[in-house]
Structure formats: C-alpha cells, structure tokens
Subunit: 187 residues, 2 copies
C-alpha cells in the first residue's frame, strides 16, 4: 500500500510559484516561452524547474489540469442531458480551451497522435467526448451521416489556431460555417 507522502514545504512552494509564473509567461508570450525565463521569474534555478516538470509539455499539462476537468465535466453533462446544440456548444468550449495559450492548439493537435506527449491522455479524452457527441447527432439526423469524430477534432484545432493567428471572430465564424456544412443532410 503506497502512501502519497506530503512534499517538503519548499518543494511545494516552488511547484506553485513555477506554475503561477509559467501561466503568466505563457499568457504573454505563448507556450514556447523560454523555460529559463520562467525559472527566473519564479526565483528558482533552472534545475528546479526540470525537477518538477521534466518536459515543457508536462508543465503545460499541469497548467491545464483544472481547466481540463471543467471541460470534461461539460462534455459529460452534454452527453447525459441531450440538448439540440450540444455539439456546437462542445466545439466552442473545446476551441476556447485549446486557445488558452498561443501555441497550445499545435501542441494539442500533435499530442493526439503522439503517445509520448504528456498531453496525450487529455487529448484522447477530448477526442472521445467529441466522437460520442457527433455519433448522437448523427443518429438524431442533426448532422450528415458521414460526419465523424475527426471532423470535430479538425474543426476544433483549426478554430483554435485561427483564434491565435487571426482573431476570435474568424475562429467563431469558421465554427458557424462548418457546423452549417455538417448540418446539410443530403450528400
């Protein structure tokens, strides 16, 4: 029986400070901001950052933990209590999530196929929810019969990338247009 040991007080403090400063740095300069600068801002040596987060994606994953839980809850709620615009609601929420930091959309898009990515599990979970939602919409006839989970992934990552490189308005517009395209029943 393994007990999770209480971490040393300074370790816990460093962990928290690193997370806070990484969040600030990534908000300002995107997810590819220098890790040295994050460590500097947090007032720890670079080795300490690597001690807590062995890879950049581990750090991003830790930052996304809470946000992820909120997103998954929404997904399960939409699956549990069906409503007409469930799929669109999901796509917009997932897009907002993937656009939390600039550069994140690319990391998530790559993470879905890359099993070594620290983001892989949560990417799979997002893909899974999207797939179940689109399956139900297909059965309802709300979307065309050839609509797939890949369509949902594609739209989500594409819209998040637009959010980053063009604007929130263009991202939202792409979602509207693509959802309209998905709603066309006759092929």
């Amino acid at each position: 029986m393994t007990t999770t040991r209480r971490p040393r007080a300074d370790a816990r403090r460093n962990y928290e400070r690193l997370l806070a400063e990484a969040d600030a740095a990534f908000r300002e300069g995107g997810v590819e901001s220098s890790l040295e600068s994050v460590a500097r801002r947090a007032g720890v040596a670079i080795g300490t950052l690597y001690g807590h987060f062995p890879t950049r994606r581990a750090l991003v994953g830790a930052l996304l933990r809470e946000r992820n839980e909120g997103l998954f809850e929404l997904g399960e709620r939409l699956l549990a209590r069906p409503e007409p615009d469930a799929l669109a609601t999901w796509v917009r929420a997932a897009t907002a999530h993937a656009a939390a930091y600039s550069g994140l959309a690319a990391l998530l898009a790559d993470g879905l196929d890359d099993e070594t990515s620290d983001l892989h599990a949560s990417c799979r979970r997002m893909a899974d929810i999207g797939e179940r939602l689109v399956a139900r919409a297909r059965e309802t006839g709300a979307v065309r019969p050839d609509a797939t989970g890949d369509d949902v992934i594609a739209l989500t990552t594409a819209a998040a990338s637009l959010h980053e490189h063009r604007s929130a308005a263009e991202a939202d517009r792409l979602i509207t247009l693509t959802m309209a395209g998905l709603a066309v029943r006759r092929l």
Copy 2:
C-alpha cells in the same frame, strides 16, 4: 535611370545555394529551421546568409516567389473565365500553397496584418483574389450573402494549419464542410 547591375559571380552562386539548401531544410524541418544550419549546408558563413536575406521572412519570401506567381496566375484565370467551382478551386490551391512548408501557414496568417513582414504584399494579393472571387460567388448566389473575403482567409489558413498538424485528409475535409456551409443560402 537605374540599371540593375549584374551581381558578382560568387554572390549569385551563394544566393542560389542558400535558396536551394533553405528549401531542403524547410521541407524537412519547417520554416523555423536554424539559419546557421542552412548556411552550413550551403557552405557559406552565417554573415553571407544575412547579407542576402536580412530576415527569415525575406528568405521564405524569396523561396515562395515562383510558387506565388503560379498561384496568382491561377487566381486571375479563375476571375477572367468564370466557372462554377472557382472559389473552391482557389481555396484548395491557396491552402496547398500555404502548406508548402510546416510553419508557413502561421507566417502567412500573421503576415497579412503585419506591414513589416516581407510576406505582407503577397498575403494581401492572395486576400484580394479571394475577396474578388467570393464577391462574384455572392452575386451569383453560389454562396450565402454574408460570405466575406475574411471567410476565405480564415478557411485557407485554418486548412493549411490542419494539413501541417493533422493530415491532408482533414484539411480537405474542412474545406468541403465549410464550402457546404457557405453554400447554404437561407440564413
């Protein structure tokens, strides 16, 4: 009256070798590949690369010159001799162009608003062609009346980014779905 002077033979050779090696490097490792490695591959000092191409985007712009001309010709041809699928043809060609190197879609998306980018002029030209094509499709009733040039830009850059981070198939599928959404006449 300014005469374009014939460049020194070694300068011309270095220019060509830099272009060739940059193309190879960017194909393999994307448009953010190290410039030092490009200079090394071309067998010149790093200062020589900077002498010919003061910024990374100038180098990318030079690599894209011929490709760009082909694309613009296609655009003008589609505008001159209307055909039913002109807009879709354009979007697919522009997407393929923007997906020539990984990382290029982001550079082009940013270049459209950034007047200091060496890619700005060609981005504007692409946007202009897209706008004229969508205007005509709007008049024909081939697309919904609220379709804009921004929709075309958004779809193109989004699809190119999908091509890079997901697959050509997903990129193409997004184009199909969004074009279907644009074709919906009733709002």
